[in-house]
């Protein structure tokens, strides 16, 4: 903490490395979309210039409360730091979407600790489970009892806020041998029915733990039947897809769809294929906080797309 590793972090990096950072690393980049094509507007400092409707929400992810291994001996501590950043925000977000892996082992005390710390934000939470949240004896019973009230199936649901339709999907249940994340026929049928009455101009935000699109098949970073969900979303003019699971930033655009994965608040994971496995990445302790963080998503004035600011705990 006392060491300011951040100063070294930004030095001597060429344009190519910076571009790579914008895709994969924990630097804060504001993305905006014009006519379905996103472009990076600038780094965090310039983001304040975005004209807001007053409707801002946060994406937090992969808190892994209970994790205490080498990559971060105190995941609850870094979650507290992230929550302190939320509390210090000059404008309170409307709510927080948590894209799963709240806990590391689905233990009651891990859920208790997570609830306590997130409760300090004073902001409403919307949850979807990660695979780490469903490994209690009851295989998800603990999660559903806490967060599943009013949800369908294994915990999927939708809600509307400020004219935006939000859909929380669960792709970590009933996983098949050799496969990727899984939504299943029942959830896809529900999604189709849920979207039916919505006009094409309704902005849609979908959130789920594992990336819906296939990001890196070899590590299981994708959803087996994700394309079926994306097909149902194709007709909408503005679709934003928020995921976690991979503990690093990734941005991708396909047509009117923007894909965004958030940083973890617990530990970083390696870039696809850059390590023997996707396991927790051990980095020098003075660099850890530059690879953890949270994302602010702002709905802009008029017909503009959603804007992201990914902020690390080091900033």
């Amino acid at each position: 903490m006392a060491n300011k590793g951040l100063d070294d972090h930004g030095q001597g990096i060429g344009r190519r490395e910076v571009l790579e950072c914008m895709v994969w690393a924990g630097t804060g980049v504001l993305w905006a979309m014009s006519g379905g094509v996103p472009h990076s507007v600038g780094l965090i400092g310039e983001a304040a210039a975005a004209e807001s409707t007053g409707f801002t929400f946060l994406q937090m992810s992969d808190s892994h409360v209970g994790f205490d291994k080498k990559a971060n001996p105190d995941a609850l501590g870094t979650l507290r730091e992230a929550v302190a950043k939320v509390k210090a925000m000059p404008m309170k977000p409307s709510f927080i979407i948590h894209t799963g892996d709240i806990t590391h082992l689905s233990k009651p005390e891990e859920f208790d600790n997570a609830d306590k710390v997130f409760g300090e934000t004073g902001v409403q939470m919307h949850w979807v489970p990660g695979e780490h949240d469903l490994i209690d004896e009851g295989q998800g019973k603990a999660y559903m009892e806490r967060y599943g009230k009013g949800a369908k199936g294994a915990g999927w649901y939708s809600f509307d806020d400020h004219g935006v339709h939000f859909v929380g999907l669960v792709n970590v249940v009933d996983l098949k041998a050799g496969g990727l994340g899984n939504l299943g026929a029942e959830q896809l049928a529900w999604l189709e029915a849920d979207l039916k009455g919505k006009s094409n101009s309704t902005p849609i935000v979908v959130f789920a733990h594992i990336p819906l699109q296939v990001l890196y098949k070899e590590w299981g970073w994708g959803t087996e039947d994700g394309t079926q969900a994306l097909t149902l979303l194709k007709r909408f003019g503005s679709v934003t897809i928020l995921n976690g699971h991979i503990h690093q930033l990734a941005q991708k655009v396909e047509g009117n769809m923007t894909f965004h994965t958030a940083l973890s608040t617990a530990f970083p994971q390696p870039a696809p294929g850059s390590a023997p496995s996707p396991g927790p990445m051990v980095v020098p302790s003075d660099q850890l906080r530059s690879m953890l963080g949270l994302s602010t998503v702002t709905v802009l004035q008029g017909n503009k797309p959603l804007a992201f600011v990914d902020k690390t705990l080091a900033g």
Binding site: K69, K70, A71, H104, L105, S106, E131, H132, I135, E137, L175, K176, A177, G178, G179, L180, E218, W219, G220, P276, S277, P278, G279, P280
Partner: protein
């Protein structure tokens, strides 16, 4: 205990092997003695009947064992994994770092399994 063992052996001698094994399974604690009695080779390679989980993969990915062998799965990763048989023949709880799960294969066959958290991780136990 000595009486029970000798009784079992005489019982095993009278029955066909399959039925003897079934009885041994019902009697639980006596299974080890029975298997050792019948298959010395399996006893000698007992330590080899371990599948370790390292770097999100099961090793060895394919393991050949004799009927009655207990296979131990140990997780050495910093991330929990589980062991789930494709047809639900067995399913471990989530194994945290250095946790282990053991399963005794009482019948012949090929048992394909995967990690319930990371289904890309797959392995196979061939029981003969």
């Amino acid at each position: 205990m000595k009486y029970l063992n000798s009784h079992l052996r005489s019982a095993a001698a009278r029955f066909v092997p399959g039925r003897a094994l079934a009885i041994a399974m019902l009697l639980g604690p006596a299974v080890g003695a029975m298997v050792a009695f019948g298959t010395v080779a399996a006893e000698e390679t007992k330590d080899a009947n371990v599948v370790t989980i390292d770097n999100f993969s099961f090793g060895p990915g394919e393991l050949n064992v004799a009927v009655g062998t207990t296979v131990k799965f140990i997780n050495h990763d910093d991330i929990p994994h589980s062991v789930v048989e494709n047809n639900k023949a067995f399913r471990s709880k989530a194994l945290d770092t250095d946790d282990a799960y053991s399963y005794t294969f009482a019948s012949a066959g090929t048992f394909s399994y995967f990690c319930g958290l990371h289904p890309k991780m797959v392995g196979k136990i061939i029981v003969k």
